[in-house]
Symmetry: C2
Subunit: 434 residues, 2 copies
């Protein structure tokens, strides 16, 4: 047997202080329950967790707001929506506590729990699944949200005694023109957004939350995103979506303190107190008909988007971050930026100033059985009130956006994401269930 | 309009010599066909292509063997299987030539073709889809293979006059015990394996090959892999699969020159000349029942695998690269490494010395509608002759491997991957169709 690190687990499972690593040599092959095996307790290596690469580092878990919203968008996503399958409020609350402890550990680059048997119990399943052993924190963030049906289910039942705490802003989204939603990959009682710079770290986190939640929650749907399509910080270059265009140039950014206050975070008096400092998440899985798009002339693509493909500049301008001039006319008198262009219809100036913080991801889910790639954008947007932001913006886009010819919205979900977990005594949903 | 780089395209489209970049300032907004747009020719930035990070660099496309086999396994995969939908041999050969030129460009960090209209033709669709603009080569490799049905289809037809060139080693795989194959995501006439350290670069490459192939081929199935599960070079650490174990420790490595000669590459006389220097690819999509696995005790997991979870050492040994001792007995007289363990059954010593070069990837394809993640291993193995390597190994595993309880093989495919493209005059399949 090689030398193995065995960790002294903090009692509350959530403390992020430096771990005490004990090197234990010569753990023998133990015969237990007829099975000969070297069962050992394993932890993710402190060496890796201390990697000095920023992209590999840890994002603080505790704070006023949840991480994973204004955190500079990481490269990879694993998003999951759970159904709550218990009727027992206490079990659900216990799970939220257990999840919070595991999330604090994993975002710090540690395991969800002990992998091996510190107390000589190799007959127990590991408390971590192991595939992230040796990997750094990779800026993992885990962001939780509560869906409308958690408050009152499809049969109108107040399953957990929180129906009166449903925020008015958590109003069911309307049907939008062209929606082709698949119920089995839409909605959900609880979501967790895992973002990281290593997909294995994001997958590991979601997989372990699902493992911990066994019997209390069930995976309703999940989505991998391989490449971010938005920058949420001025330090990040704007990435490209699968139409080949820079996306989210005019996105709310972490540095826009005033705009974030007005457009991102729920205020006291906006709704129930438990949401103060939280934000509302809208997800939309948007299939892109890329084969059709790829047959479209460049000039037409640029006109549909309203930006140039290369620099990403608004048409008629030279730089990506130039303000679009919606009044400008071309030689023939027609608008330089078409009335039906995406950039015009989505722009705050056309939506009473409404803005979103977007942090979507490109996806490819194999092929569609019709000879085409099943690819597109998993759109995620955070906001203070979807009724005043996503809903009016999407209403306009769904009716008039020239891009709709190349899009199919196949999944939709809405979640109330509470404020941050303040300290080790706090947990996801504490104020909601208080 | 910003300054735009316009490239003087090499006539043959495949030359990798340094491009001649022309900076053109002040391209105006042009009214074309009633559409006002700044249509411009764009190319991926030479600055990015010259990034000094090894993981971002370019892998040579031309050579004796195809890249993407012994190339140190990149982090991400996009694998596609195409059906050939034309009956016209000349169109298929022309596509293979066009693909080869595009592959040479893309693996060098360039676009598949010109994005904009150098000759003032913005009404043409771009010859590159654009989502990799600004991204480095990311060690992209593109590896092609030809499936059995390309030689003679399901109706027994010799569609392209190459039935007599089918290698004997490209024999249909037998049914293995427990196979639960889905035909719609199995087999295929042509495969392309795209591996890169940036998933957007791999997706971009496959998407552009599909775009170029429109009308000649159709995407049958495609698979994204988010994390490599094998090391193919002694310089790489062994990664972990979704069972949390190090995988492929005993894999053939690029440095094993003698073993590669004996086990990886087709020799003169092995079959038709066009395959000399090539290799045979077997892919298997293996769903892992991770929820069940996660409830299994650590000791039992280690006994099933035959290795420790932490170090990845063979049971009874201390280091990952120690040779397993299959004769060793425990205190009770039972083998330290069980007769049904994966490491024993897959080991060359138990398979007449047969070895594989594996370069598989972890996948998560959302959830399965039953509350579980749809996750597992996309297994890829290269070899000199599947009849003597994959088939006998998998026959033994499928009958006796204790791991089978946690696995479902849902897709299977076999392809003959020709030798490398030698130079700009050569192309994928030239010798096959000569």
């Amino acid at each position: 047997m090689s030398e193995q690190n065995i960790e002294a687990a903090p009692a509350d499972g959530s403390r992020l202080s430096r771990r005490r690593a004990i090197t234990l040599a010569g753990v023998g092959v133990a015969g237990v329950a007829g099975v000969a095996a070297g069962a050992t307790a394993l932890v993710r290596g402190a060496d890796h967790a201390a990697a000095n690469d920023v992209a590999a580092g840890a994002v603080p878990f505790h704070g006023e707001h949840q991480a994973g919203i204004t955190t500079p968008a990481q490269d990879r996503l694993h998003f999951v929506a759970f159904d709550v399958i218990t009727k027992d409020r206490a079990r659900l609350v216990a799970l939220l506590q257990e999840w919070t402890a595991a999330a604090a550990r994993m975002t710090a680059g540690r395991d969800a729990g002990l992998i091996g048997a510190v107390n000589g119990m190799p007959e127990a399943p590991p408390d971590d699944t192991g595939e992230a052993l040796g990997l750094p924190p990779a800026q993992l963030t885990l962001t939780i949200g509560f869906g409308p049906m958690l408050f009152r289910d499809a049969q109108g039942r107040d399953r957990f005694g929180i129906a009166d705490r449903r925020p008015p802003a958590l109003a069911d989204l309307p049907h939008f023109a062209g929606d082709a939603l698949r119920p089995e990959i839409s909605a959900g009682d609880i979501c967790v957004q895992a973002c990281a710079n290593d997909p294995q770290v994001a997958v590991h986190a979601i997989r372990n939350l699902a493992r911990i939640g066994m019997g209390v929650v069930s995976v309703r749907w999940s989505q991998l995103g391989f490449g971010r399509t938005s920058s949420t910080s001025r330090g990040q270059a704007t990435p490209r979506n699968l139409f080949g265009f820079k996306d989210g140039t005019a996105n709310l950014k972490a540095e826009d303190t005033g705009l974030l206050r007005d457009h991102l975070w729920a205020h006291p008096g906006d709704g129930p107190d438990w949401m103060t400092g939280g934000s509302y998440l809208v997800s939309r899985k948007i299939r892109m008909l890329i084969e059709t798009w790829d047959r479209t002339p460049l000039a037409e693509q640029e006109q549909i988007v309203g930006r140039s493909k290369g620099a990403g500049a608004p048409l008629g301008k030279g730089d990506e971050f130039d303000e679009p001039d919606f009044a400008a006319k071309g030689e023939g008198g027609e608008p330089v930026i078409a009335e039906t262009s995406h950039v015009r219809l989505a722009h705050p100036s056309q939506n009473n100033g409404a803005r979103l913080l977007r942090r979507g991801y490109n996806f490819v889910d194999g092929s569609d059985g019709l000879g085409r790639l099943d690819a597109g954008l998993f759109f995620i947007a955070y906001q203070r009130d979807p009724r005043k932001q996503f809903v009016p913006i999407q209403t306009g886009l769904s009716r008039n956006d020239a891009m709709n010819e190349y899009l199919r919205h196949v999944s939709s979900a809405l979640f109330a994401c509470p404020p941050g977990v303040r300290d080790a005594a706090d947990f996801w949903g504490r104020a909601l269930f208080a």
